[in-house]
């Protein structure tokens, strides 16, 4: 048997609904026989009547409702149809859920699922990666699973966590990524994983960019360089210790992310390594991000806008020469 990243997300939700009466799923088109725009909730409404609920096109109210239910002891999962539309719910996520524990000492255990990242032909409003934005604000955990196993276990962890979690699932990985089985073990939340060991350069990445980074590493391996690739798994908290330990081994750092370049996860990784591990660096750290324009529609433009294995390899070679 093989299971895709998307199926793992569905299976995690089925397990959560089965094991925990407090869990319900709230989002546009998630219910009925439809099961979501990407079918991440397919069949769940039938299996769990009254607990997988369609909502109006009201992102703000979807999250507001989840917050209210969470305060009354529920564990809601909100599905945004696309991460991009969560901008409508920013106020509820950042200002209401994100401030609540700090202000009142009562945490808000909601999970907001964001189908994130670019796919061919999706254009400016169905392609965004918003993890940097959410990570910027206090009070939230931001997950960016890059593997089928993490997609499954981290969603289960997200719902168990008492604080609000923004769970960024990558649409490009939905069908592309397969595993043989659902995992039995899990890695602790907040810990980064060494996805590939190496000695010459550290690439720090997450989500779909992990796979582009791994391809770039394989390419460069043919030239005799061994690149270590770190999968952050959660971008907040950011596992600085694992990143620093890797840079201590390699002396070089390249941070790769799909979100826009100004600020963000890659900037944060470089800032932390530069301030806490400057002495470990043999060369100036570098980063690769999407371009500082809206995300284009045409595949020719999109594949240039988005960081590719080729671009990552080019940047890595430059760093290795320094």
């Amino acid at each position: 048997m093989s299971i895709t990243y998307l199926e793992a997300i569905r299976e995690a939700q089925a397990k959560l609904l089965r094991d925990d009466k407090r869990v319900f799923i709230y989002g546009q088109d998630v219910g009925g026989s439809f099961g979501g725009a990407f079918k991440a909730t397919k069949g769940l409404a039938k299996e769990f009547p009254g607990r997988v609920l369609n909502t109006p096109i009201s992102e703000d109210a979807m999250v507001g409702t989840a917050i209210g239910a969470a305060l009354e002891g529920m564990r809601p999962i909100v599905e945004m149809q696309f991460a991009d539309f969560s901008s409508i719910a920013l106020n509820q996520i950042l200002n209401n859920a994100g401030t609540h524990y700090w202000r009142t000492n009562i945490p808000v255990p909601i999970t907001v699922r964001l189908p994130s990242g670019g796919t061919k032909g999706s254009g400016p409003f169905h392609s965004q990666s918003m993890e940097s934005l959410y990570a910027h604000y206090p009070g939230l955990i931001v997950m960016t699973p890059a593997t089928v196993e993490d997609a499954y276990t981290m969603l289960i962890d997200a719902v168990a966590i008492d604080d609000p979690v923004v769970y960024c699932e990558h649409k490009y990985l939905y069908y592309h990524l397969k595993a043989d089985n659902l995992p039995n073990d899990r890695m602790a939340v907040g810990k980064a994983r060494i996805a590939r060991t190496g000695r010459d350069l550290t690439i720090v990445s997450y989500s779909a960019m992990l796979h582009e980074s791994l391809s770039a590493a394989e390419e460069i391996a043919k030239e005799g360089f061994e690149i270590e690739v770190v999968d952050l798994r959660t971008v907040k908290p950011l596992d600085t210790a694992t990143v620093l330990a890797s840079v201590a081994r390699t002396g070089r750092l390249l941070a790769v992310g799909e979100s826009f370049p100004w600020g963000g996860v890659t900037a944060e990784v470089i800032a932390r390594v530069s301030t806490e591990g400057f002495h470990l660096l043999d060369a100036a750290p570098a980063r690769v991000n999407a371009k500082d324009t809206p995300i284009p529609y045409h595949p020719n433009l999109w594949s240039t806008h988005r960081p590719s294995a080729k671009l990552i390899a080019t940047k890595a070679r430059q760093l290795l020469r320094e």
Binding site: A70, N91, N105, R272
Partner: protein
């Protein structure tokens, strides 16, 4: 002829008699929104605000029979008195430089607000906004917690992390508002869904909003989703005729805000917010109907804010014309006059109530003032409860 939603002849206490007997059949006395209103001026550019959405009750002719007084009238009056006394003291402390940040009072809105809190029971959810001290107190918020929050006391519910009206006690059903208007509507909806899901009975949620806050997207989404989920929610909207300094004619262009009730699938009422009896009748009835499983309820009250947006605001934008409108009457003075007219309390009793209110206010402030304030060094700078997931940023 008056166009009260509460009935053509409604005045002080008119509905008190019939409120307990409200039926949901054809004989119900409260107008459900959607009745076409004639002769309504949409806006008058020469005035700068929309004409009042309803006419305030004129003094009744002596020959009219006096309706019984609402059973909660005196209790409500005393909450209003306490609130006014507290907020006057608060404003004076602000002017004396003893309060940091802003002070936001509900002067003129207390009758509406107290009616929002006074009918709520344990197990209900209340999401008040900035001018709801009377309602918060009536629903059980200790006055000392208000003083603590203004002083930023470490002992208070917000522990100096948030101030003034941004406070609450969610475990007691009083949600802690955020400043973004309309955001709390859907939060109440979610809490009510959870209660229903658990099999709780006989609970409701009540949230307040202003005519300003009604123009946000969050408010619209929240009210719509409330009706879709058919939760027992009452939304009490107070039109105080200004969103900060902006008059009604730059806030909305619909003939009457209560007409939105029909658009959302709510039942709607309007009322004269200067008249405590009517506030108790209409809001009490809306609460009762929500509890009975009717669709969500929208009450639109009309008043004039008799203070600035906050105490930093001299409200010079309030025109002389609007100050003469019937809705500009002070609800406390009106209730005071009503008590005297109906001989519900003698002068000595009224004086005693004032003194007791002053004493309670004094006690609250002096207790809060003695408490420690937070310090930056000792603060627990942690925004999440899951300690092992705190981001270790330098």
């Amino acid at each position: 002829m008056l166009t009260f939603v509460a009935g053509k002849a409604a005045g002080d206490g008119r509905l008190a008699a019939c409120a307990p007997q409200i039926s949901f059949g054809a004989t119900r006395r409260l107008r459900i929104t959607g009745v076409k209103r004639e002769n309504f001026l949409r806006s008058r550019p020469d005035v700068g605000y929309n004409r009042p959405m309803l006419q305030t009750a004129r003094p009744k002719k002596k020959s009219q029979p006096k309706a019984p007084v609402h059973e909660k009238y005196i209790e409500a009056f005393r909450w209003i008195l306490l609130t006014r006394t507290f907020e006057e003291k608060l404003a004076s402390m602000y002017r004396g430089g003893r309060i940091t940040g802003g002070v936001y009072v509900g002067k003129g809105q207390e009758a509406v607000s107290v009616a929002c809190g006074i009918f709520l029971q344990k197990g209900d959810i209340f999401a008040p906004l900035i001018r709801d001290q009377a309602g918060r107190s009536a629903f059980g918020e200790p006055l000392v917690d208000v003083a603590r929050t203004y002083f930023g006391s470490r002992t208070g519910p917000m522990r100096g992390r948030d101030g003034n009206i941004h406070r609450g006690s969610p475990r007691d059903g009083q949600l802690a508002m955020i400043s973004h208007l309309g955001a709390m509507v859907s939060v109440v909806v979610g809490s009510l869904m959870a209660k229903r899901g658990r099999g709780e009975k006989n609970f409701i949620g009540l949230t307040t909003i202003g005519e300003g806050g009604m123009q946000t997207g969050a408010s619209h989404e929240g009210m719509n989703i409330a009706a879709v989920e058919h939760v027992p929610l009452v939304v009490v909207a107070t039109n105080n005729h200004y969103a900060y300094s902006t008059p009604n004619d730059r806030e909305f262009a619909c003939a009457n805000l209560v007409d939105r009730a029909r658009g959302y699938g709510f039942e709607g009422y309007e009322l004269d917010g200067t008249d405590l009896a009517q506030c108790l009748d209409v809001i009490g009835t809306a609460v009762k109907r929500a509890r009975a499983g009717r669709p969500p309820q929208l009450v639109v009250a009309s008043i004039l804010r008799l203070a600035g947006h906050g105490e930093h605001d001299d409200f010079s934008y309030v025109t002389d014309d609007i100050r003469k409108e019937p809705f500009a009457i002070d609800c406390l003075q009106r209730a005071d006059a009503f008590i005297k007219e109906r001989e519900l309390a003698d002068a000595g009793t009224l004086q005693r109530w004032r003194e007791e209110a002053a004493e309670e206010v004094e006690n609250a402030f002096s207790a809060a003032q003695k408490e420690p304030v937070p310090t930056g060094e000792e603060e627990d700078w942690c925004a999440i409860s899951t300690r092992d997931l705190v981001d270790a940023i330098e």
